[in-house]
């Protein structure tokens, strides 16, 4: 399998001396779904920002395939309140200078993918929290991303909406075959979604790389021993982390 992102010895320290990432090394396979968990302040979000190019690392090397297109879903829906759902999803494409026809096709497809085809002309404030997050996801998907960065995207939603969106996301991932890096603080969400779960320790190093067995993701998987064992392993890894502090 080819690699989407190869990260070598990545470190990030801010001007005030606070180190958020330390010697992070990992290879993300193309088309893989990786979840990243860890205590707050361990550099999960910084890792995404650096890998997406929003921030430069203090040291280390990142290799990606040339012309990798990326999508980014933030913790908040980050929609422009004065633009309709359609205009929000279209904005990054418009900035990139795509032609109207192509933008239209992509936006309509992306909105259909997240189940909001009929809300194109709504303004963000007319939508529920879950719908806003769907628009945000559609905006990332419309850019046909090779790599999709998601920074605790469903963290602020209620449990039921989150479970639903988790399933929708998996569905989209299987269809689009993009590489997903998913930061979350919910262990069960990480276990359910990802093929691999990276556990970060509080000092910013990569502590564990846990592979989740099984390909099917449904209610049966959630009830399976494999799911519970994996969840336990991750939780233990995180707990051990806490004791170390």
């Amino acid at each position: 399998m080819s690699l989407a992102i190869k990260v070598n010895d990545l470190s990030m320290a801010y001007a005030d001396g606070i180190e958020v990432l330390r010697c992070f090394t990992h290879s993300f396979e193309a088309g893989s779904f990786t979840a990243i968990v860890g205590p707050s302040g361990c550099g999960k979000s910084s890792l995404l920002r650096i890998l997406s190019g929003l921030q430069s690392p203090s040291s280390g090397k990142i290799e990606t395939k040339p012309d990798t297109s990326i999508g980014y879903v933030f913790q908040e829906p980050t929609l422009l309140a004065w633009r309709t759902v359609y205009e929000n999803v279209a904005l990054p494409l418009k900035i990139k200078g795509l032609n109207q026809q192509l933008i239209h096709t992509r936006v309509v497809d992306a909105l259909a993918l997240v189940g909001l085809a009929d809300r194109q002309h709504a303004l963000p404030r007319e939508l529920s929290g879950g719908m806003k997050m769907r628009v945000s996801l559609a905006r990332a998907l419309a850019q046909n991303p090779d790599v999709l960065f998601m920074d605790e995207p469903f963290g602020a939603l209620d449990e039921l909406t989150r479970l639903k969106l988790d399933d929708e996301l998996l569905d989209i991932w299987r269809r689009q075959k993009c590489t997903i890096l998913f930061v979350t603080h919910t262990v069960s969400e990480a276990t359910y979604l990802a093929e691999r779960v990276l556990v970060m320790s509080s000092n910013g190093t990569l502590k564990d790389d846990i592979k989740i067995e099984g390909n099917t993701r449904n209610e049966a998987f959630r009830a399976s021993t494999a799911f519970h064992e994996a969840r336990l392993t991750i939780t233990k890894s995180l707990e051990h982390n806490e004791e170390a502090i």
């Binding site: 929003l54 933030f74 908040e76 422009l80 004065w82 904005l91 990054p92 900035i95 990139k96 963000p124």
Partner: protein, 254 residues
């Protein structure tokens, strides 16, 4: 409905009381004329007062327009370059905190007494432009960081960030600044007319002084009434623009 009826009732009651008390106490007309006399003065001098209104309105309008253009442009410039802001900010503040009445005679001399209208616009502009600058600055600076990152990820140029994100996001603040500036432009115009003095200005403020000198207190009140109405129109016009531009998406209209 009560929102309109109540003030209307209070206003009418006050006018009736005013008319009655002036007659009852026998207050001389050159101290406090009754409302009927003011209305009469307004009708009698209608043409000349309207001419004066247009003069004041145009000074206010030009000052306001340039305050809007100058304030927003300077705010954009300041947010593009920290260097420019550091260099210019103290002087902008100096211009703001120095009482404009004190600078006004200087401006009149510089611009020349043959161009008093221009001088008056400049004076009113100095009074009006600061709130637009500060509000626009604050509006642009409070744009959510994630939204910036979002546009950055799409490879947006600085002007695309400005047009698609910063200016629309700052619009509510800009309009708040504009609303304050609209009122201040009128105050600035009045101050400018007072300073410009006799023979050169023909605006409402000058009519007030002139009528005062002749003890035509009713005419004074008539001019004052027109100034108030102008101020009220400026204020509500801004509310209307806010309603048109923001009502669909901004939280203040929820």
């Amino acid at each position: 409905m009560m929102k309109f009826l109540l003030p209307l009732f209070v206003g009418s009651a006050l006018l009736v009381f005013w008319e009655w008390i002036v007659g009852f106490l026998g207050v001389p007309i050159f101290v406090l004329p009754p409302p009927s006399q003011i209305a009469f003065a307004l009708i009698k001098n209608f043409t000349s007062l309207m001419g004066a209104l247009i003069v004041t309105l145009s000074i206010t309008g030009f000052a306001y327009f340039w305050a809007l253009v100058g304030g927003v442009s300077l705010a954009i410039l300041f947010t593009r370059s920290r260097f420019i802001e550091m260099s210019l900010a103290p002087y902008v503040v100096t211009l703001q905190v120095t009482p404009v009445v004190a600078i006004a005679p200087l401006i009149l001399i510089w611009v020349g007494f043959e161009n008093t209208n221009q001088a008056m616009v400049i004076i009113a502009w100095i009074v009006a432009f600061f709130p637009i600058l500060t509000n626009t600055l604050q509006g642009i600076r409070s744009v959510d960081g994630s939204l910036h990152q979002l546009l950055q990820l799409s490879g947006a140029k600085w002007w695309q960030i400005l047009i698609y994100l910063e200016l629309p996001a700052a619009l509510p603040s800009i309009l708040t600044g504009a609303k304050i500036s609209g009122g201040l432009a009128l105050i600035g115009a009045v101050v400018a007319e007072f300073v410009a003095g006799s023979g050169t200005s023909t605006g409402l403020a000058w009519r007030i002084i002139e009528a005062g000198n002749r003890l035509e207190i009713a005419t004074m009140f008539a001019a004052l009434t027109l100034l108030s109405i102008l101020g009220i129109i400026i204020y509500y016009a801004h509310n209307l623009v806010e309603w048109i531009l923001l009502r669909k998406w901004h939280e203040s209209f929820n």
